[in-house]
Symmetry: C2
Subunit: 210 residues, 2 copies
DNA sequence: CGTTCAGTTGAACGATGTCAAGGAGGGTGG
DNA sequence: CCACCCTCCTTGACATCGTTCAACTGAACG
């Protein structure tokens, strides 16, 4: 429904492996919308985003989708508590992924723990957004997060669609769109393109998102 | 506002320390409503629940509260990505906590990683509940979770108030109450006491909580 | 036996979802 | 290079669910 199954191509690469002790791996290329792993599949390796963006999500039986996290260049994902994936992961757009096959995760736990903890904190903070913030606060928090992850520039590039944003923030696509319009009308942001946003009033955005 | 600052009493104890390599610690007693740690405090030790129950939460400036997790006997909490607590932790009712002071967290990462990953999965699954489920589904998911954590018995003891449940599920206390009534009227549950529930139709509850 | 606090219930409101139509941008083929 | 198409996005009207505000109930405790 959301994923396309397309064989991915391995690219030669020269960039360094970040995890010591792991098997060095080339970068795999995933076209937009392709599946990286699926719920129920056997887990094991970790995944490092070289370029592009990834969405990690779960589905309810009736098709409702919750994106639990977006992963951008430099980030590592794919952690599981047992040997099975509990989520789906897909490339949002053309994405390069380094698959890190780890001989024994336990042996590398020293390096892995900080990454897992970062993911934990992120997820718990997102719980506050989903549980207690209204639509405009959610979008503001999202935009603040995206700007921070892009180095705090005034201009933000959103790699994902409105649908993805909605499924991440627990909103419908229509509500996301209306909030964008409201922020635009208030002069808080300016839409340079559909997926390119300029922050005009960072302070306002900051204390909207809490 | 939510926490009372009451000095806690150390209890002698004979039960085993679960984490090898950590300093053995006695069990501290926290009366109902007392703070275990606060947001902004220096983090470091981990906490193991011996008996009782704990809520971990964040607050918004205007007092809105999101409980990110409940911790029951046997569970470990207090993980942080950096040296600072990003959340508050309080005893829900009379609770025994073993404070595990770890010389170097990195040295114990082999044991810690599985615990952190379990917390991560739990948080991510809760995101689905908060982002995409309606009131009755949220309460159903909560009840299923509580029964599973109490060994799958038909009778569930809820250590927390309706307010806590609401703040965990992103609902108001009134909505939680109304959903309980609806489940009771449907014959899915029976209220033995305010905080004691009998599950009459586990199957119905299960596929409500999806 | 009264007081208090947690929980329940009701009525009205409001935010967000749903359904439907219209618009804009990007890609493709003529 | 233009026209068309398809997808994504926006906007509007209305429905719905959950919140808010308020009153009431009941259990626990002195």
């Amino acid at each position: 429904m959301y994923a396309q199954q397309i064989a991915n191509i391995e690219l030669p690469t020269q960039s360094a492996v970040h995890l010591d002790g792991a098997l060095a791996q080339p970068v795999s290329f995933f076209p937009a919308g392709t599946e990286i792993y699926a719920q129920g599949e056997k887990a094991g390796p970790l995944y490092q985003v070289e370029f592009g963006a990834v969405r990690v999500y779960r589905l309810l039986a009736d098709g409702r989708r919750q994106i639990s996290a977006f992963h951008m260049a430099g980030e590592t994902f794919g952690f599981e508590a047992d040997a099975t994936h509990h989520f789906f992961a897909e490339a949002i757009n053309a994405t390069g992924i380094r698959v890190v096959r780890i001989a024994a995760v336990a042996d590398m736990s020293r390096q892995l723990l900080p990454l897992a903890l970062k993911g934990l904190i992120r997820a718990q903070e997102h719980l506050l957004v989903l549980g207690r913030q209204n639509a405009i606060e959610r979008v503001a928090a999202f935009l603040v997060d995206m700007t921070e992850r892009q180095g705090g520039l005034r201009q933000v590039e959103l790699p994902m669609s409105r649908l993805d944003i909605g499924d991440y923030l627990g909103l419908t696509i229509e509500t996301v769109s209306r909030v964008f319009t409201r922020l635009k009308d208030k002069g808080v942001i300016r839409l340079l393109g559909l997926r390119s946003i300029e922050i005009l009033k960072q302070d306002v955005l900051l204390d909207m998102g809490e």
